[in-house]
Symmetry: C3
Subunit: 218 residues, 3 copies
C-alpha cells in the first residue's frame, strides 16, 4: 500500500521505474499524514480584465477518495477556500493539490483538511481565472520541473511534498515501494541495534535501491 509510506519511498520507486513523478512547488499548508488517491484534475486559464468569469463549480463531481489537482499556473489569485474545503471534507475527498494559491487558510487548518499549494493569499480567482478543463491531462510546474498529471493518476503526498504515480505504472511502483520500505526497515533495525550506518546500508543493498535517473534533476 502506497499510503503506509511517505513520499520519499514512493519517489525512490519512481526513480527505479525511470519516472519523473515529483512535483516541484506545492508544499503542505494544512492537514497531516500521508494522503493517497486518484487525481481529479482541473485546469484554469486567465481571462482578460473586464471579462466576467464565474467561480469554478467542479466539486459536486469529485468522487470520495479522490485528490483534487488544480492547475492554476503562475496566477497570483486563489482557486480554493474554506467553503470548498468544508464541502470536500464532508464528501470524503482526500485532499487538494494546487499549482497555485489558496485562501481562507486559517479555516482550512481548523478542519485539518489536507492541502498543498504554493502559498496562501486572499485575492479571489473570480473574474481573473476561468475553469478551462475538467478531468483532462494538466501540466503542473514550469520548465525542467513541468509534469503532466492525468485523471486517475495516483497522487501520494505528505509533509515533504507531492508525487504522482502514473496509473499505468501503479503495480510496478507499488511493488518497489514495498521492497524499498522493507530494506529501509532492515537498515534501521541494524543501526538501532548499534550497527554502523555504512555497514547496514551496504549489507542491505541501500544503494542498489535506485537506478541512475534518466534526467538530471540534481
Amino acid at each position: 500500500m502506497l499510503a503506509a509510506h511517505g513520499t520519499a519511498v514512493v519517489s525512490d520507486a519512481l526513480d527505479l521505474a525511470g519516472i519523473d513523478g515529483q512535483l516541484w512547488g506545492p508544499r503542505r499548508l494544512s492537514g497531516h499524514g500521508p494522503v493517497v488517491g486518484p487525481a481529479f484534475t482541473v485546469r484554469f486559464e486567465r481571462v482578460e480584465p473586464g471579462t466576467p468569469a464565474a467561480a469554478a463549480d467542479f466539486l459536486d463531481d469529485v468522487p470520495s477518495g479522490a485528490v483534487v489537482v488544480l492547475a492554476a499556473g503562475s496566477a497570483t489569485c486563489t482557486v480554493w477556500g474554506d467553503i470548498l474545503a468544508e464541502v470536500a471534507l464532508a464528501r470524503g475527498v482526500a485532499g487538494t493539490v494546487i499549482d497555485g494559491l489558496c485562501r481562507d487558510i486559517d479555516g482550512i487548518r481548523e478542519f485539518d483538511y489536507s492541502l498543498w499549494a504554493h502559498g496562501a493569499f486572499m485575492r479571489s480567482g473570480k473574474n481573473r481565472l476561468r475553469m478551462a478543463a475538467v478531468q483532462q491531462a494538466v501540466e503542473l510546474g514550469r520548465g525542467e520541473e513541468s509534469r503532466t498529471v492525468r485523471p486517475g493518476d495516483i497522487i501520494c503526498a505528505d509533509g515533504s511534498g507531492v508525487t504522482v504515480v502514473p496509473a499505468a505504472s501503479l503495480a510496478e511502483v507499488a511493488a518497489s515501494v514495498d521492497r524499498i520500505a522493507a530494506m529501509e526497515q532492515q537498515v534501521l533495525e541494524e543501526v538501532r541495534a548499534g550497527g554502523r550506518l555504512r555497514d547496514a546500508r551496504k549489507r542491505h543493498g541501500y544503494n542498489l535501491a535506485a537506478r541512475q535517473p534518466t534526467g538530471n534533476h540534481a
Copy 2:
C-alpha cells in the same frame, strides 16, 4: 465589523469597490486570528556602509489598537524583534506588518504577537537602514504588486496575508463585507443541509458578489 471576518471577504469587498488592496509578500509568522486596526506607517531607507544609523525609535508614539506597518524594501536585514514585540504587546498595539524581515521570531511566537513579514532572519538593521519617515504614505511591494499605505488606512490581516482598506472607503467596504459574509453563510448552510454547491452558489448570487477587477492580477 471587518474583524469578524477574514481577509478573503475583505478582499472580495475591495474587488467590488475596484480597490487593489491585497499586499503581496508579507505572510503570517506569529499570532493567530484576524487582526484589524489603523496603520501606523514607518519607512526605512538604506545607508551607505560606514554611516552610523541608530535603531528606529518610533514605538513610543504608536497608539493602542494600531497596526505597525514597516516599509523596509528588499533589505536583507531586520527591522523588528522581540523587545519591540514585548513593548508593543504591553501597549495594546494590534500587530506588525513588515515589507521586509524580522528577527527573534522564537520569542515573538512565545508572546503570540501578531506579525506578518517576508521571513525571519537575524541580521540587524542597525547601521544598515535608517528610519526615513514616520506616519507618511509608504509603498509596499514591488512592480505590479506595489501598494500605497497611508496612516490611518485600515489593515485587515490573517493567516492568508494582509489587506489594506483606504480610510476613505471604509464604510463602503464594510457594507460589502457584511453582505458577502451573509451570502456565503447562506451558501454554506444550504450545502451543509445536503444541497449541491453549484445550485447553492447560483441561488444566492455567489458570482455576482464581485465585479470585474480593474487591473489584471490573475
Copy 3:
C-alpha cells in the same frame, strides 16, 4: 555561553567584530530552541546523469555535540532524511544545517530533531549528487550571501536562522554576546517598569552595541 541567547545577539556580536557570519537561505524546519555546536562539514557535487553515486556515508564519523553542515548548492534533490535524523539523534548530534533540501520532514518533526534547510522535498540525492569532501571548508549561499564554513567553526542557530562564528573569533564574539545580552536585559527591565523605549535605549547605549558593518548587506 552562546547557547543561552538566540541568533540575534550572536549576529550583533559578529557585526561588532566585523564578521559576516549570517547564513542566508536555511530556515528552521524542525526542532525548537537555540542550537550551538562545532560544524562537521560535508560538500556535495552533481554527477552526470547515468553515473552511479552512492548515498553519502559520513554520519558514523560525526562526534556527539556537532552540527552537521551540508553544502548541496542549488540541487533540487535531498541530502538528509529520517534514518539519518534518527541515527544522529541517538548519537547526540546537535542538529543539521543544509544549504539544500531534506526529505522525510514528517518523521524528522516527530523526533523534534533540529534541522535547517531551504525546504523539504522527496527526490533522493542518490545518483544525482555525490559526496565530494568531508571536514573541509565549504561554501554556503550564493553571490553576496556566500559564506565559508570551516570544520570546527561554531554554528549558532534558532528559529530566525543560522549564524557561523569562526573558531578563531569565538572568545571575542562570546564576550560581546554577554555584554549585548546584559545591555538588552537592562533596556527590557526599564521599559517593563514603564520607561519609554527610546530613553532606555539611549541610557544603556543600545546604538553603540554595533559598529558600522564592513559590507552593505542592507
